[in-house]
Symmetry: C2
Subunit: 265 residues, 2 copies
């Protein structure tokens, strides 16, 4: 068993580039995963693993469990424990890393469900928020998350904070707001702008019948007025406390909870 | 104007100790704040500021705004920009720091409201989660947050992530679960254990009339069975997706949203 100790190994080099550079990810169509559970989830949800790295210690620790995961022809490299610490992005490295291929981009036009519940993230910037929203969307059973000029799905922090939901949720990306509205309208899907505005409709009074999509804006600035005004309804979470008191992920979670509840009741 | 450049200055030393050590905070009854808005919030909400630090740049930048804040007799020290970077805990330091005195501990027995809505955090460990829960509790208008064997309120990360809500919310601490249940029962407050359990009552079907308190457990392990079973009702968020798909802060936010909605409707 050869143990790689150098950062100059081409595979290790590729991993580190993909881990730190959005441009590298975009150009190659590859992204990285770290941690045994996350990689196990990825395999179970048919993510396209290209390469696995284990530190010596991790290989010993996980080899039993590993034999139960269907890895087909994934190449496994063993790296030294020291190198594992160097390439890790987490505080407590498990010593398990992977390079994956991004799946082909989904087409909202082809996959959209007329009675579906969607969340559109327009200009969302914080990776932790995006991860938490995808995770919650999975939990409450949304039909899709649509990224519109938001932060990158395949950044390691986003993928990690989705806790595996990134592999399960239907995630669409769009750069064209006109096309997005056309597609929603053509399918009879009502759009709701989540805004902080005392004249907007109180979320608690809305019944989300049929297909609907809620638009969430940027953490600091909210939705641009031209996007909010194209939505069918402007909706707001009435707050008892301070106006600054809901973060974007929490507000989105509450909207999704209300939307998904309508179809369950 | 004397500019402090050394970490050995007694006030700077105290700030750094309070910033990094829970023990130091507990023994002294002091804690730290970083960032202009947070400190402004603290002042407006009557937090007990003892000492302010500005870097030279920050003092120039904020001096106009500062003159509008009622600082009474708070001592202000000017530190060098370099020292500001050294003592900061954030990625983009603003160069504004404070030492505050903790307020006296609140007594739940004395302040409890019979028709109040409370959240009890039992064994919650993540500072980011605690901060987000306090912030959300403020937004939806809860009557109090009760910390029971949870992480420390005054850690810089918790205080920062509450975005000022830590100064507005009524926060109680208890180490005695028996006493807590007795106090709730004596005031006719119904207790709800938030659990992941298919036999528990579906949160969507519950009407939270009158006084109620929801118990939230540890991120990894949930509520201990002996605590859950003492609650009036076991309640659960039915998930469409993966069981691992809600983080503790989000689940708590959804519970609080449902509880606070009952009194508004």
């Amino acid at each position: 068993m050869t143990v790689i100790t150098s950062k100059d190994n081409p595979s290790v080099k590729l991993y580190m580039k993909l881990s730190s550079s959005k441009k590298e990810r975009r150009n190659s169509g590859l992204y990285v995963l770290e941690g045994f559970r996350l990689i196990e989830d990825a395999v179970n949800e048919k993510a396209l693993l290209k390469q696995l790295f284990f530190t010596e210690d991790a290989y010993e620790k996980y080899s039993d469990e590993l034999s139960q995961v269907d890895l087909k022809e994934v190449k496994i490299l063993i790296i030294s424990n020291e190198l594992g610490i160097k390439i890790s992005c987490t505080e407590k490295p498990q010593g398990v890393f992977a390079i994956c291929e991004m799946p082909p981009a989904r087409s909202l036009e082809k996959e959209i469900i007329k009675s579906g519940k969607y969340v559109v993230l327009h200009g969302l910037q914080d990776p932790g928020n995006l991860g938490m929203i995808i995770r919650t969307a999975d939990a409450v059973g949304m039909d899709g998350v649509i990224l519109s000029e938001s932060c990158e799905l395949y950044s390691p922090k986003v993928i990690r904070s989705t806790m595996g939901s990134a592999f399960r949720m239907k995630i669409f990306e769009t750069r064209d707001t006109d096309e997005l509205f056309s597609c929603l309208e053509a399918n009879g899907i009502k759009s709701y702008a989540a805004v902080i505005d005392k004249d907007a409709v109180d979320l608690r009074t809305i019944t989300f019948d049929g297909g609907c999509a809620v638009f969430i804006g940027n953490e600091g600035n909210g939705l641009p007025p031209e996007v909010a005004s194209r939505c069918t309804v402007k909706a707001t979470i009435r707050m008892s406390g301070h106006i600054n008191s809901l973060n974007a992920a929490m507000a989105t979670g509450i909207f999704m909870w209300e939307m998904s509840g309508s179809s369950i009741h």
